[in-house]
């Protein structure tokens, strides 16, 4: 056996082994939702016999007056409205940075970027106090408003706009198009892939954001899925493992479907160009 084939086999074995690591929790979760608690305690890697899948699903869906569907609806509302508004606003801001030389441009960009680095744990607390004074605590607006500010999105939007050549804007300007028209007709179609990518990243980000709703919401009826599933208990307040697992499964299912179907838009984004 040549050295080359030896290394090739080693690499394949390692890559396969890592596949097991990365897939295992998904597998275990999928098996877990077919079991009741006593079957979970049997610690088997196989599906539960008899299967309790239908029962688990039915119990999650009907849990506390079908509150699961409210959580699902809230998650979709927060993620869709938040991501779309946030990215639209970011694209307008990115367009301004790309298209115009204006007073305070550099300073503003640095301030915006600097604030992208301030951790959510530092701003969420003052946001809580601010919303409490405004009477916004435990409203849907309290989750939506902060998600409209997509600081990271502005930065990436500037990078996307940079890829649109100057000539395109200039030609439109000579044709007498006004600035808003240039943004809508020339700009947006050209950055559409970037727009979609940012929308998806923001959608997933909001869908998965646990800390903000944890802080600003009290009522279960306004919670998103990600927060709702951590509140599932039996009437005595004890955790119900099989229901939490089943609800977790339905929390990640939309994400997996999105990722699998729109994979080409899920480009990981990093600060360096």
């Amino acid at each position: 056996m040549s050295r080359r084939t030896f290394w090739s086999i080693v690499v394949t074995v390692v890559l396969m082994g890592l596949c097991v690591y990365f897939i295992f929790p998904f597998y275990w979760l999928t098996m877990g939702i077919t079991k009741n608690v006593s079957q979970l305690y049997q610690k088997s890697l196989l599906p539960g016999v008899p299967s309790h899948l239908a029962e688990n699903v039915q119990r999650v869906f009907s849990y506390e007056n079908r509150t699961f569907f409210r959580w699902l609806g809230n998650s979709f509302l927060y993620a869709t409205v938040g991501a779309f508004t946030g990215v639209t606003i970011a694209s307008l801001a990115g367009f301004a940075f790309r298209r115009y030389d204006f007073i305070g441009k550099k300073a503003l960009f640095i301030v915006i970027l600097g604030c992208a680095m301030v951790p959510g744990y530092a701003t969420t607390l003052p946001i809580f106090i601010m919303f409490r004074n405004l009477g916004l605590i435990d409203t849907r607006l309290a989750v939506l408003l902060p998600s409209f500010v997509n600081v990271f999105g502005v930065y990436l939007m500037v990078a996307y706009w940079n890829q649109v050549p100057d000539e395109m804007f200039d030609a439109a300007e000579i044709d007498g198009a006004n600035d808003l028209l240039i943004y809508l007709r020339i700009g947006l179609p050209n950055v559409l892939p970037g727009f979609v990518t940012l929308f998806l990243l923001a959608f997933v980000g909001i869908w998965n954001n646990f800390f903000l709703p944890l802080v600003v919401l009290n009522s279960r009826s306004r919670m998103p899925l990600i927060l709702g599933i951590t509140t599932i208990t039996d009437p005595q307040g004890f955790p119900v493992y099989n229901l939490t697992l089943t609800a977790s499964f339905f929390t990640i299912l939309p994400l997996l479907v999105l990722f699998a179907t729109l994979q080409r838009y899920f480009k990981p984004q990093l600060y360096v160009g």
Binding site: L18, Y41, K43, Y100, L113, G120
Partner: protein, 315 residues
Amino acid sequence: MARINTKVPWFRKMAWFGKKTTWMNKKKLISTLKAYAFLAPFLVLFVGMVIYPISLGVRLSLYGQRGARMWYIGVENYQRIFSDTRFWESFKTPLFLLGVQVPLMLFLATLISLAYETRKNSGVVYRFIYYLPYTIPGIVAGIVWSYIFSDSMSPLRPLLDLLGYSGTKILTRPNVPPILLVIILWEFTGYTAFIVYSSLISIPKEFSEAAQLDGAGFWQIAFKIKIPLLRDVLITLFIFNAIGAMQVFNEPYMLGGLVVLPNNYTPAMYIYSSAFSQGRFTYAAAMGMILACITFVISLYVLRTAARNVLRSRS
């Protein structure tokens, strides 16, 4: 030969120059107005949801508080934090992640991305599978992994029993750091490898081909040519992960449902419980500011590069 424009009288030149500047200013003024019109929606929300909360956080941190009553105390909160050992102890977990998880992950991700390159057809499949955990929220990852490691449900339990360790518990306080390591590596390694791979394939093929002609082997090419070219991306990834490590919350929060963890297990957990379990908002705000400053200092390098790379003015 004398240049032609020397024949223009100096006052005419000045007049022309003056006209030019006013024209420039007017143009700049108009584009400033237009730019701020486009920026307006963002700036309004940015000020409301980022700048104002930060300034409110700074202001709160300078107040003492008992219940709803607040009074100005200057930097007393900060002085108390500096001698609050529970706050500084909370950095043990981030420092462990920074010292162990981040370097290990970057090392693994680099190796994986080099392996992706050697797999022309199956590479796509590996990249897809490795990336999947990144799409999962930290809370769900925390739930599933904490169940996988819990002594009542763990598939590892039968294995340990078989090996004669039936008395050893899996999910104990001392075991939480390695368990966190497994969870966080699971979440982010594939994503990191994808980013490293993206910059790896942007390295011109000629580089490694030339080295190959000179007789360099796979590892030599990897270490002498490719990895040095990945330096920037690896530094950036290191900084981002360092920031992430400082803020870790979701995974230990969920593990805390199955194993008793102190409320200062991470800085974010300590800030959260100080504010919302103990109601010490101003003290928590001061800790938040310290955490924000630490994060900001770590991120300075990235900020500089980012501003340089993206902000080029129109030529």
